[in-house]
């Protein structure tokens, strides 16, 4: 069934364009690989870096396996605590992807709902929602995220900060993230609702809610899809930046950004593998996402074909 769907898709215009773009194929392959390895981290990682029982400080700062003092099973070496870098990266990737995907999903859900409501209902609802969007936009995203993280950490009782760190991050990224979706969806909703098919439904007597949901929503989602893909890259970067600044994931459940922050402290001590591998992984993920997003945008842009 799925195979059939994939085969059908590969035969469609999109699929043809996909097959003709080695960059898109490579990006998707990298992403699938990265996502799978991150999802299966508990099964394939040599070590659980969160389980302190498995971490021996005597195994600290072992270089990658191909170097002189490399040691099995630490393929990419260990950190100053004796944590396996490869395992940390797999778990960190899991964390980064999880936060990125969740942030995109949350902002998309909020943004699409608000955009649809504003575009379809118009009038004061539209006015109010768009003024809110203006205000959110008048504070730079990064600043909002830092403030939210800082404020949330100041308000939450200490015991809740760590378990909620990821939630706080998702919330702080989504708090501004929804605006783009809202604007996109609002714009296309305003176009779509004037289109004849929507008016035909109105003439038939279909209710507004139903027109919004069944007719207009599906037709506004193409740009949302592109935006979501490109924003996934941005969200992962935002998370990394916040963690790098020290207002993101704690050291005990590090994301890629937190790993880079930790690694950065060892930049000059010869323990380069701490910063290089997470940075490469982060760059690779974001690059693949962006390349895929770029391709998707071009492929879905009728004007380019």
């Amino acid at each position: 069934m799925a195979e059939g769907a994939i085969r059908r898709w590969l035969g469609s215009d999109m699929g043809l364009s996909f097959r003709a773009s080695p960059v898109a194929v490579a990006s998707l392959a990298v992403l699938v690989l990265v996502a799978l390895s991150a999802l299966l981290a508990p099964l394939i990682a040599p070590q659980n870096p969160y389980d302190l029982k498995q971490v021996f400080i005597d195994k600290a700062e072992i270089p990658p396996i191909w170097m002189r003092d490399g040691e099995w099973p630490f393929l990419l070496g260990t950190d100053p605590q004796g944590r396996d870098v490869l395992s940390s990266i797999l778990y960190g990737t899991r964390m980064s992807l999880l936060i990125g995907v969740a942030a995109v999903a949350v902002s998309m859900t909020i943004g699409v709902s608000i955009g649809l409501a504003a575009g379809f209902l118009g009038g004061w609802v539209d006015n109010l929602l768009m003024r809110i969007a203006d205000t959110v936009l008048s504070i730079p995203t990064l600043l909002v995220a830092i403030l939210v993280s800082a404020v949330a950490r100041a308000l939450l009782p200490p015991g809740l900060r760590e378990p909620f760190a990821a939630v706080i991050l998702v919330a702080s990224i989504s708090l501004t993230g929804w605006v783009q979706y809202a604007r996109t969806v609002r714009a296309s909703t305003m176009v779509e609702r004037r289109k004849e098919y929507a008016q035909a439904a109105r003439i038939i007597g279909v209710s507004s809610a139903r027109i919004m949901r069944r007719h207009i929503l599906p037709n506004t989602l193409t740009p949302v899809l592109v935006a979501a893909t490109l924003n996934l890259g941005l969200a992962i970067l935002a998370e990394a930046t916040l963690s790098f600044l020290g207002v993101g994931m704690p050291i005990t459940q590090p994301s890629l950004g937190a790993l880079i922050r930790i690694g950065n402290q060892y930049l000059f001590s010869g323990v380069w593998w701490l910063v290089v591998f997470p940075a490469v992984q982060l760059g690779l993920i974001v690059l693949s996402v962006n390349l895929l997003g770029d391709w998707l945008r071009d492929a879905l842009n009728p004007k380019l074909n």
């Binding site: 004849e196 098919y197 008016q199 003439i203 038939i204």
Partner: protein, 322 residues
């Protein structure tokens, strides 16, 4: 002439406030500006017949169409659909549907054709049984000249003409009595246009449909209409039976319009093009709105606005017609 009346429109007015925002008005001392899209139009349409409404862009004909189907509430005046007999003998309000100009925008690209055509049946609960719905959809598709199997396909698989057929099938699915057709063929090629016009004529004959055909294409209107109304800046300037209006136009605008239409049958004829352009409906000229372009305009035309008056079987709004 003895057909019962399906639609009565009485002094329909539709105004749009196109004033600059409040602040600009205050600062620049500008007045409120009103676009008089439809400015007092009255007519009746008889059941089973076709009224053609002709005019250039911006004359208000599309607004009129939207008012009839209820997409646009009138600012003033009434639009009344007369009850008509149902199949079971009872009287009921006629159903009005609309055929749109753009066959590409009138079908939801994400829906299968079958669902598009079935939507009104399901929405209006005309049939309860899903199998019956499917059967009805198949029947409708065949009625408009498509195959029943087309129900499973998406609109993008169809050409413009076929899409217009689907639109018609959707309209028929409501068991509509009155169809408002807003430029139904102007986006189609000539050969396809003929197919659609023929289909519409056939359906009218078979189902006793009433058409209100809005178009700028005089030959299409001529071909389709029993009665005709010429619209200029929100008003009717001439109405009457199509044959008579085309044979002997009374209003200067009608005359000039007929004169400017290129005629395939008379290649390379020399003619006098209508000069000037359509004035803005926001700032219509005083008096007769046509007077700036009218070759016969007199002083009176600049001062007062002529009303639509009966002249024989027709009505004309012109001082020069007596």
């Amino acid at each position: 002439m003895s057909d019962p009346i399906a639609l009565t429109v009485q002094d329909a007015v539709c105004l749009f406030d196109v004033s600059p925002p409040f602040l600009d008005r205050v600062l620049s001392g500008a007045r409120r500006r009103v676009l008089r899209a439809v400015d007092g139009v009255s007519f009746t349409v008889r059941r089973g017949r076709t009224l053609g409404v002709v005019g250039e862009s911006g004359c208000g004909k599309s607004t009129l169409a939207r008012m009839i189907v209820g997409l646009q509430p009138p600012t003033a005046g009434t639009l009344r659909l007369e009850d008509m007999p149902r199949a079971d003998g009872s009287l009921g309000r006629p159903r009005v549907q609309m055929i749109f100009q753009d066959p590409y925008a009138s079908l939801n690209p994400r829906w299968r054709v079958g669902d598009i055509v079935a939507e009104p049946i399901r929405e209006l609960k005309l049939l309860q049984d899903e199998a019956a719905v499917q059967a009805r959809v198949a029947q409708l598709l065949e009625t408009v000249g498509l195959a029943a199997a087309d129900a499973a396909r998406f609109p993008h698989a169809f050409s413009g003409g076929q899409r217009q057929r689907i639109s018609i099938a959707r309209a028929l699915a409501t068991e509509a009595d009155v169809l408002v057709c807003d430029e139904p063929t102007s986006a189609l090629d000539v050969s396809v246009q003929a197919q659609i016009l023929n289909l519409m004529r056939r359906l009218q004959a078979e189902l006793g449909l009433t058409y209100i055909l809005i178009s700028h294409n005089l030959s299409v209107v001529r071909h389709m209409s029993d009665d005709i109304a010429i619209m200029y800046l929100g008003r009717f300037v001439e109405t009457g039976p199509a044959e008579e209006v085309f044979a002997a136009p009374r209003h200067p605008y009608t005359r000039l319009l007929l004169e400017t239409i290129p005629d395939v049958q008379r290649p390379n004829r020399d003619r006098q093009p209508l000069s000037g352009e359509v004035p803005s409906p926001i700032d219509p000229p005083p008096g007769c709105p046509f007077h700036p372009r009218c070759p016969q305009a007199e002083t009176a035309c600049r001062e007062a606005r002529p009303a639509l008056e009966a002249h024989g079987g027709r009505e004309v709004a012109c001082f020069l017609v007596r």
